[in-house]
Structure formats: C-alpha cells, structure tokens
C-alpha cells in the first residue's frame, strides 16, 4: 500500500473491525515493527529518532492510556487549559481531578487534547469520537477543523460514514490487507 497526505488535508480510513486500520496508524507512527517507510516533507521516519518523528506524526489510540493518577500530569506545562478544555466541553477544574474520576467520553477527549502540541504536523486519530454524544462529537470535529486550517494533516479512522463525509476530502478503505481509495 502507498499513499500521500497533503498539509491541511483530512483523509478518512474505513474498514471492518480487525481489518487493520489501527495497525496502519500504528505503523505510520512507527509503534510496531514493519516493512516500508513513511516520510514527512522528504525526511524519512527511519532516518530520525522515533520520538522526534512521533512528536510530529502523532498517534492517538482508540483506547486511552494514563500514566499518572492526576489529569494535569499528562499535559505539558504552560498549556492554555481554559481555551483548550472549553473547546471540547470539559470544565477547566477537571485538570485537578484524578484520572479515575473521568468518564469514558472525557478520557477520550482529554487523550486527544494532550496530543495536540505546536510540533504536530500529522495527526493519526483512531476513532476519536466513538464514545461521544452528538454535541461533543461536533465540538471535537470543530477543534479538528481548526487544526486542519492551521495546516495540519489528519488521518482519521472512523466507523461513521457521515463523519467521514463531513471531515474528509478523500476516503480510504482497508480491505483484505489492501488500501483502496473510494470515490467521494
């Protein structure tokens, strides 16, 4: 499989469960051993330290992991939390909460927020709104559109064809280990 992503472009990835959508994203983020290579502006992933690549090409898993008991510890110091949190409908006080107090939907949104840094060039998002109601899905999509207009590219795995139509300009499908482009 072979494909390219332009700056400011959102491409959706669909396919049955277990077809390999997450594997594809993890491969691009270089989180699993794989054949082939990815490159950003001509700089190959294999030619730079993996952490440097992942700060630019950032993968957000469908199931979020938390490495500290406090929410705050997962964010870089100096982040503007008021604007960031309210954009996805989470009160700023949540910063002081223990992670255990967060609902599934709150975890999902915060896991996305903590991945947003000024270094991002490409976001690899694995079903970023799967557990959210319509209102919060709308908020997340708005946030992502802002990122797109700032020139960030997004590869979006989604099971929701309407979301794919709303967000993406091109649509890919993983089928039998192949990546095929679908007509819009």
């Amino acid at each position: 499989m072979d494909f390219a992503l332009q700056a400011g472009e959102c491409v959706s990835v669909a396919g049955k469960s277990g077809a390999g959508k997450s594997v594809l994203l993890r491969m691009i983020a270089d989180l699993d051993p794989h054949d082939g290579d990815a490159s950003l502006d001509g700089a190959a992933c294999s030619n730079m330290p993996a952490p440097q690549w992942r700060r630019m090409v950032t993968y957000v898993a469908a199931e979020s992991g938390w490495w500290d008991e406090r929410v705050e510890a997962h964010f870089l110091p100096g982040t503007d939390f008021t604007a960031l949190f309210s954009a996805v409908g989470i009160p700023t006080e949540a910063l002081a909460w223990p992670v255990a107090r967060l609902s599934t939907g709150e975890r999902q949104r915060l896991a996305l927020l903590r991945a947003l840094t000024p270094q991002n060039r490409v976001l690899l998002l694995d079903e970023p709104t799967s557990g959210l109601d319509d209102e919060n899905t709308g908020r997340v999509e708005k946030l992502l559109r802002n990122r797109l207009s700032a020139g960030i590219a997004i590869l979006l795995v989604t099971h929701n064809p309407e979301q794919a139509a709303r967000m993406a300009t091109r649509h890919l499908r993983v089928r039998d280990g192949q990546l095929v482009e679908e007509p819009s």
Binding site: P33, A50, P51, W53, T58, A115
Partner: protein, 265 residues
C-alpha cells in the same frame, strides 16, 4: 561450651511436631496432610544428601569439584527463576536474562566477600565458598525473579499508558521509569525488611544457628551483619541488572514496546 551434637533420635523427636501437624490437618479435613508429610520427608532427604555431598567436597577440596558444585547451583537457580515467571522472554532470553544477572551479581558479591573481608586460604576453601555462594545466590535469585516478574506483568498491564506516552514522543526509558522504580522496589523490599527487622522482630537464622552451636553472641552478630550487607548488595545488584536488561529487551531502538518478545507460560 562446645556445640551440642545432634543425634538422629533428637531429629526424630522434633519430627513429632510435623507428624502432629499432619494428623491435626487430617482430623479437621483441611486437605494439607499429604503436602505437609511430603515436605517433611523432602527436608530430611534433601538436607542429609547435601550434608553428605558437602562432606565429600570438603574432604577432597578439589577446585574442579567445587567449581562443578557452584555451576550446578547456578543452573538450578536459573531454572527456578525462569519457572517462576508468569510471562517470560521468548527464546534464549527467557532463561538468559535471569541466569545472566543472577550469576553476575552473585559472583561479584561473593568475590567481594572472599577477597575483601573473609580472606580464607585458599580463597576457594569449600567450607567458606559453598555456604557463602549458596546464601548469596538464594537471595539474588529471589530479588531477580521477583523483579523480572514485576517488570513483565506490569508492562503488559500498563501497555496502553506506556504506548500512550511513546506515541507522544517520549523516549523508551522515560516512558518506563515509573515501572522500573516499582519493579526494583518489589525486588528489594524483602531484603530491606529483613535488615530492618533483624534482631528486633526475629533473630536471623544464621545467627541463631551460630549461637546454638556455641559462638559468642557478639561474634555471631558481626557475622550476621556482614551477611546481611552481602545479601542486600547481591539482591540490589541483581534486581537492578534485571530491571535494566528486561526493559531494554522489551523495547527496541525505535522506542517501541515489543510485547511480542514475551510469551505466556
């Protein structure tokens, strides 16, 4: 006071306690009778056998024979470590990490004790070397196996959190720091507890043995202190080595988590 030598009749009297235990658990139907009796028989057979073997080794004092005994001890410890792991590394690493770190820590600490403080002559005098090696090896083995098990179970449990950090561009050692700390802690807590409780809560086994055998309490205490330092040094070195080798092996140079290198037993 010369050490009171024990006769087999003395042991038979002490064995009444084990038999009593077995009878009681049988009367209350607790399902432990067989296990207790088998353990009792094992103690008799194993220790008398070791006593016989050591008697021969001490009498011959052949360096080759001593080396063979030491190697056999290492092999058994390594097997014990790998069989105590819930998940272990695939291939030769499953045996190798435990065996390598245990051997290294044990040899270093034993050599330190032999050449640094005890200075027996010759240095390989089996009366000194074998018991010393045995007790250090046992402690290092415990430290290493607890630590390795803590690393591999925690890494599987914490996979989403660790990969979450890696995905944001954290390097592998930063992402695993927390896990390394807690694994090291679980490997070293037993020996730290043993040092803290020594003499206050229990009289350590070796010291008790020496006092019973007629040694002056203060002399026995000095031996015990030396020994506890050696044991903590060994367990610490072994656990530290195991943590670093295991976390190095379970990640790769592209800062990826390689759970495919672990196999469930």
């Amino acid at each position: 006071m010369s050490p009171p030598l024990l006769g087999y009749s003395d042991l038979a009297i002490a064995a009444i306690l084990v038999v009593l235990n077995a009878v009681l658990t049988w009367m209350f139907d607790l399902g432990l009778t067989r296990t207790i009796l088998i353990a009792g028989v094992r103690v008799i057979v194993q220790l008398l056998l070791v006593g016989l073997v050591l008697k021969t080794v001490f009498a011959l004092a052949s360096p080759l024979l001593i080396a063979a005994v030491a190697l056999a001890m290492f092999a058994m410890a390594s097997y014990e470590i790998s069989s105590r792991q819930e998940r272990r590394f695939a291939g030769a690493w499953g045996y190798g990490i435990g065996a390598g770190t245990t051997m290294l820590a044990t040899v270093l600490v034993t050599a330190f004790a032999l050449f640094g403080t005890l200075r027996p002559s010759p240095w390989y005098a089996p009366q000194m070397l074998i018991p010393l090696l045995g007790i250090i090896l046992g402690n290092v083995m415990n430290g290493v196996s607890v630590t390795l098990n803590a690393v591999s179970t925690a890494i599987v449990r914490e996979q989403p959190a660790i990969e979450g950090r890696l995905a944001l561009g954290t390097d592998r050692y930063t992402a695993l720091k927390q896990l390394q700390r807690s694994a090291l802690r679980s490997g070293m807590i037993p020996i730290i507890n043993q040092m803290s409780a020594a003499g206050v809560i229990t009289l350590p086994g070796m010291m008790t043995g020496q006092i019973l055998a007629g040694m002056a309490p203060l002399e026995a205490a000095k031996y015990q202190i030396l020994l506890l330092f050696l044991l903590s040094g060994g367990a610490g070195l072994g656990a530290l080595g195991a943590v670093y080798v295991a976390t190095w092996r379970i990640t790769d140079e592209r800062d990826r988590l390689r759970l495919d290198r672990l196999v469930r037993r």
